[in-house]
Symmetry: C2
Subunit: 316 residues, 2 copies
């Protein structure tokens, strides 16, 4: 069985690992689709980031049985052509869960432990212990979203002895959440949140979902963190919420306009922390993707249930 | 039974909570020992920070059966007089475990997620995503110490899917530690540490324990954090270790000289983070101490095993 990878710069050790683990498979690593295209015809399995496929390539790949997409986003996949050919698609959904959950916990601890103030004091060589240090312990984290990233964040929050409250479309009970509210109970859910984490994707339903009344519902000491999509809440609402003291701090890894222009007011608001959409960045992206690939190869060969199989009708 | 508290500023809600919970006990809250001394004679139980007792006061407290010390340090307790009288002593050992474990995880995440760099970029309104973001996940935390604080830190590290290695006098296996080394295997233990956390008390054995050779043993990417006692390692060794690249970063909440003078070189070293001995500070100190007190009152009344009973011979 032939495996064609068109990922650029796959480290030697990852290549070697799979080569040695699956001697019955023939792996070919090409530096991008241009280099890989001549081998599409013979490939049984294709490994791609999913942004380099079209109807023609799918048609050319007459032996193709499985496309392993090394990405969580699938916007540019030619699903119709894939569906017609009945090719299996899997992706690496959840690959951002660990770095993003670490980001969320880290940023909340930055706030609780006053690390920005400590950093400024350090720059001034100033020994001052009179800051209001908080604990995560015993507080409540309210998460908008209950998917892979929110769940991993909730799992860590539970480790810190926090209560976790989720908000999802269905309101269905979920592991790592003490309670889950339906989206139409959003206000009620936000009232519980000492730490509020938004990890919602951008859909028609979520665009502009959070309005000023929602920040009014949060406790005044609440810290709001958005690492989902910037469209969830307008910049104006965020600025008002913080300036009027409806919440104590906002941490934004995503915002309406990215990159955030240098002159934007968000940069200069003391109680807003801006990071440049980095929560999901990790040096372990490919190794982790290859671990999913490895488990799926094993499942594929042994005809067992594979991870992250994509519903070709829905496209996710 | 009469309970005398000589703690200053005990919040009303804590007083009321115990009053209502134990109607058979008679609680008296005095603002310090001076105000409380007239009531020593009738007290069965004394609640103190443990810094205001002497032989005379113990002799005066003829009815005293139990001293609840709302502190983890017991340096100023007149243990000989207490021993002679056979008075039970308990303290709040471990009360710093949660805030200090949160501090350690928070500071390591500050380093892994490049929060200081992000903070500086934010101050310059600069959107730059090209930083080397790390994960805690999958790495090893080596802890010098396996007591309450180290254990709580190790527990959290395990939640982040880290491997945990402890170093203790005995090398005895302990919960939350994947492996424990004896102190004479210190070098070996340090070789494993991506993140090294020191939580050792100051004793003759630990003073100056870490020398340059120990930093040479750590991986060059290691991040070293000391929140135990500053005497563990000299400032000169720390500066050399960082300046010569033996480790990548040092995070110091304790140091040889505290407060650290403004002109000290530690403040100005880019790869050293100094915080002003704040890891244990928490607004939840008294509530948490009173929770221990509550459990111990219950155990005392019901003649069950109490927490944190002090060995009067050893004094801890």
């Amino acid at each position: 069985m032939k495996v064609l990878s068109v990922l650029k710069n796959v480290p030697e050790d990852l290549q070697q690992w799979l080569d040695e683990k699956y001697p019955s498979l023939e792996f070919r690593y090409c530096h991008g689709m241009k280099e890989g295209e001549p081998f599409l015809e013979e490939a049984d399995i294709l490994v791609t980031y999913g942004e380099d496929l079209d109807k023609e390539k799918i048609e050319k790949a007459v032996n193709l049985k499985w496309i392993m997409v090394m990405s969580a986003g699938m916007d540019r996949m030619p699903f119709e052509a894939i569906r017609e050919r009945g090719v299996l698609v899997t992706n690496v959904r959840g690959i951002h869960a660990q770095p993003m959950a670490e980001y969320a916990i880290g940023m909340f601890l930055q706030n609780a432990k006053r690390m920005k103030e400590l950093h400024l004091q350090e720059k001034e060589s100033r020994w001052n212990r009179r800051l209001e240090f908080q604990e995560m312990n015993g507080h409540t984290m309210t998460l908008l979203g209950t998917g892979a990233i929110a769940s991993e964040t909730a799992r860590l929050a539970k480790c810190f002895n926090m209560k976790t409250v989720g908000v999802s479309r269905s309101g269905e009970a979920k592991k790592h959440f003490d309670e889950v509210f339906r989206i139409d109970q959003l206000t009620e859910a936000l009232e519980t949140g000492d730490y509020v984490t938004a990890v919602l994707p951008s859909t028609e339903e979520t665009r502009g979902l959070l309005r000023k009344e929602h920040f009014e519902a949060m406790p005044a000491h609440a810290v709001f963190l958005n690492m989902g999509r910037g469209e969830l809440v307008s910049t104006d609402v965020l600025l008002e919420a913080v300036q009027e003291g409806l919440i104590s701090h906002a941490i934004l890894d995503v915002m309406e306009e990215e990159p955030l222009p240098a002159e934007h007011a968000l940069w200069r608001e003391e109680n807003i922390t801006v990071t440049p959409h980095i929560s999901g960045i990790t040096s372990r992206y490919l190794p982790r993707g290859f671990e999913i690939f490895d488990r799926n190869i094993k499942a594929y060969i042994e005809n067992e249930t594979m991870e992250n199989v994509i519903d070709l009708e829905r496209g996710y």
